[in-house]
């Protein structure tokens, strides 16, 4: 599997791979977009942090409320003004909101984790 697969997700502007700590390992950015490797690096850190927080909240919520169905998490998305970052595991894809297919993005990321 490569980042090329993620770049095929509808509306993809960038695809990236990051370490467990959130450092950018590899990336592809579609020409003409306003994204930079520096933005992707911080975005990856943000996503790692929020995935960890979401795991904490999901686990706590399930324990506290008895409502199952959250864990294990299948991913996280940050929805910005023009684009959304969708991540899971150590991979992420940035999709333009007007073309975004969140389910397709999560499904593509699940292939990487499998």
């Amino acid at each position: 599997m490569s980042l090329d697969r993620l770049m095929q997700v509808p509306g993809a502007m960038a695809a990236f791979q990051y370490s467990d700590k959130g450092d950018l390992v590899d990336h592809q950015i579609k020409e003409g977009t306003e994204l930079t490797p520096q933005v992707l690096d911080l975005l990856a850190h943000t996503c790692v942090a929020n995935l960890a927080v979401a795991t904490l909240e999901a686990r706590g919520w399930e324990q506290l409320t008895g409502q199952a169905g959250f864990e294990p998490l299948q991913g996280f998305s940050l929805v910005g003004l023009d684009w959304s970052a969708v991540v899971n595991g150590n991979f992420g894809v940035v999709v333009r909101n007007r073309d975004a297919d969140y389910e397709a993005a999560f499904a593509a990321l699940a292939e990487f984790k499998a």
């Binding site: 999901a58 169905g69 959250f70 929805v79």
Partner: protein, 135 residues
């Protein structure tokens, strides 16, 4: 119709609510208790404010506007349930095929960036008689 009620019309939506950015006020409909809705409101507000700050930080690394701020919302995709937040609205929904995209389209149309009729937008994206399904 209020967006919360509108979201609750969609098959597979478990609960939807609205929280205040300041204070503890919240409103909700759905299959969770009032106490759990209160917790969800606090959780969603805290996450949204935190992510808003984060987007401000990483957008400063772009030469110009990188297109991410202001933050519209976020999604946590669980095994069977997803949590979607746009603005000050939250929605718990099942991971039924197609549902996440429908919910996000409605939420972005009501409190986000979609300016045209959301149904026209959805027809264009997924096709089919979504009006019957949603309303």
């Amino acid at each position: 119709m209020r967006i919360i009620s509108q979201l609750m019309q969609i098959p597979g939506v478990i609960a939807a609510g609205e929280y205040a950015y300041r204070g503890d006020r919240y409103a909700y409909e759905g299959n969770i208790s009032s106490e759990h809705a209160r917790m969800a409101s606090i959780l969603c507000r805290a996450n949204t404010l935190s992510m808003n700050m984060q987007t401000e930080l990483f957008s400063s690394f772009a030469p110009e506007d990188c297109g991410c701020k202001p933050l519209q919302g976020w999604i946590v995709r669980g095994r069977d349930i997803s949590v979607c937040v746009v603005g000050n609205i939250f929605c718990f929904c099942q991971n039924t095929p197609g549902l996440l995209n429908d919910v996000m389209t409605i939420m972005r149309a009501k409190v986000g960036d979609i300016e045209e009729n959301p149904l026209v937008y959805m027809y264009a994206k997924i096709g089919g008689d979504v009006h019957e399904k949603l309303y």
